[in-house]
């Protein structure tokens, strides 16, 4: 074993960043991450606030339009909340052993498999309903316009619901199941 240890120690680690470079990297990393997060929160927040103000201040808007906008905003909140909760789980994770970490990852991915798709369905239903309600005010006075726009909208919804959604869910489930399987295999190694 001592021979093997001697070989192991010959690994060169001299091309790692110097301490000063590493400090620069960690600061850059923090700034970049914070900047990205701040920007996405600002953009989402401004988007929601502008939509709420536009809808509530525009005079004589039909109830269906207001309800439509509310549905779309609710869809955004549902999807954002799922992502924030998933990120928070990792942030809240304290110092833990490999065994605890593997079981945490396994559980996180299992939760994702069960709940993520459910919230995605909720988000899709809300945004589709919102879109159909929102359209009504602009097309309801003309039968031809209503037919064209509602055919297009419903066609798009059917395509997303019956083709795109099952495809992307299948892909997600496959990936998550493979990941869970790998974690199960590793968990077996720490028994």
């Amino acid at each position: 074993m001592n021979d093997i240890k001697a070989i192991w120690q010959t690994a060169r680690a001299d091309n790692l960043p110097s301490a000063a470079e590493m400090l620069r990297i960690v600061k850059q990393f923090r700034n970049k991450k914070l900047r990205n997060k701040t920007w996405s929160i600002v953009v989402a927040g401004v988007g929601i606030i502008v939509s709420i103000i536009t809808v509530s201040l525009t005079p004589n808007l039909m109830l269906s339009t207001k309800a439509g906008a509310a549905c779309v905003i609710a869809a955004c909140i549902v999807l954002a909340n799922t992502n924030i909760r998933s990120i928070k789980r990792f942030i809240d994770l304290k110092d833990c052993s490999n065994r605890e970490f593997i079981s945490f990852l396994e559980q996180t991915r299992r939760n994702q498999l069960h709940y993520h798709q459910k919230t995605q369905v909720a988000g899709m239903v809300l945004s589709f309903t919102g879109m159909l309600l929102y359209l009504y005010e602009f097309v309801h006075k003309s039968l031809a316009l209503s037919l064209v726009f509602y055919t297009l909208a419903i066609g798009w919804i059917l395509f997303m619901w019956f083709y795109q959604r099952p495809r992307s869910f299948k892909k997600q489930s496959k990936k998550l199941n493979e990941t869970i399987e790998k974690f199960e295999k590793i968990a077996d190694q720490i028994k």
Binding site: M1, I4, W8, M22
Partner: protein
């Protein structure tokens, strides 16, 4: 509490070697080492000395390695040559490459445990990092050493 710079200078070569043992890929090991120290830097103020600082850092590093599975960055597995005659004058680089390949053939947790053993960490600390009992860790270390020695012997080395 040592400052970040001291911690980095003390532990980065060890962390790099452990990551290298796990992934057998120089660039990925470098990335994992950097990710480890980004986590260390971010959480250093919250570190409450509940465990040894080395245990804490090795836990972050090995957990990072385990999580690499999710992004499908996998170790490039190279089959070990069978019945290859031992080289008379093998260079240090060749010996090291053989060692990494031999470790790369082990299971994920075995790779982590043997890397920590080769870094001369006490068994109690390895048990703490991995999350096994001391007895179980000792048994596992013994088995992994046997496996590794067998691979070296079958390649005609260290006889």
């Amino acid at each position: 509490m040592p400052d970040f710079e001291t911690i980095y200078l003390t532990y980065s070569p060890q962390i790099f070697r452990v990551c290298m043992g796990y992934v057998n890929d120089h660039e990925q090991a470098k990335d994992l080492t950097q990710e480890t120290f980004v986590s260390v830097w971010r959480n250093l103020s919250g570190f409450r000395n509940e465990s040894k600082i080395s245990t804490w850092i090795f836990r972050i590093a090995t957990n990072n390695c385990l999580r690499a599975i999710e992004i499908n960055k996998r170790t490039v597995k190279v089959e070990l040559p069978v019945n290859l005659p031992a080289l008379q004058e093998e260079s240090d680089e060749e010996k090291l490459a053989f060692l990494y390949r031999a470790i790369g053939e082990l299971e994920e947790m075995e790779r982590i445990i043997i890397s920590l053993v080769l870094e001369d960490l006490p068994q109690v600390e390895i048990a703490d990092i991995v999350g096994l009992s001391a007895v179980n860790t000792r048994v596992k270390i013994h088995r992994i050493k046997e496996k590794l020695a067998k691979k070296f012997r079958s390649n005609g080395q260290f006889e």
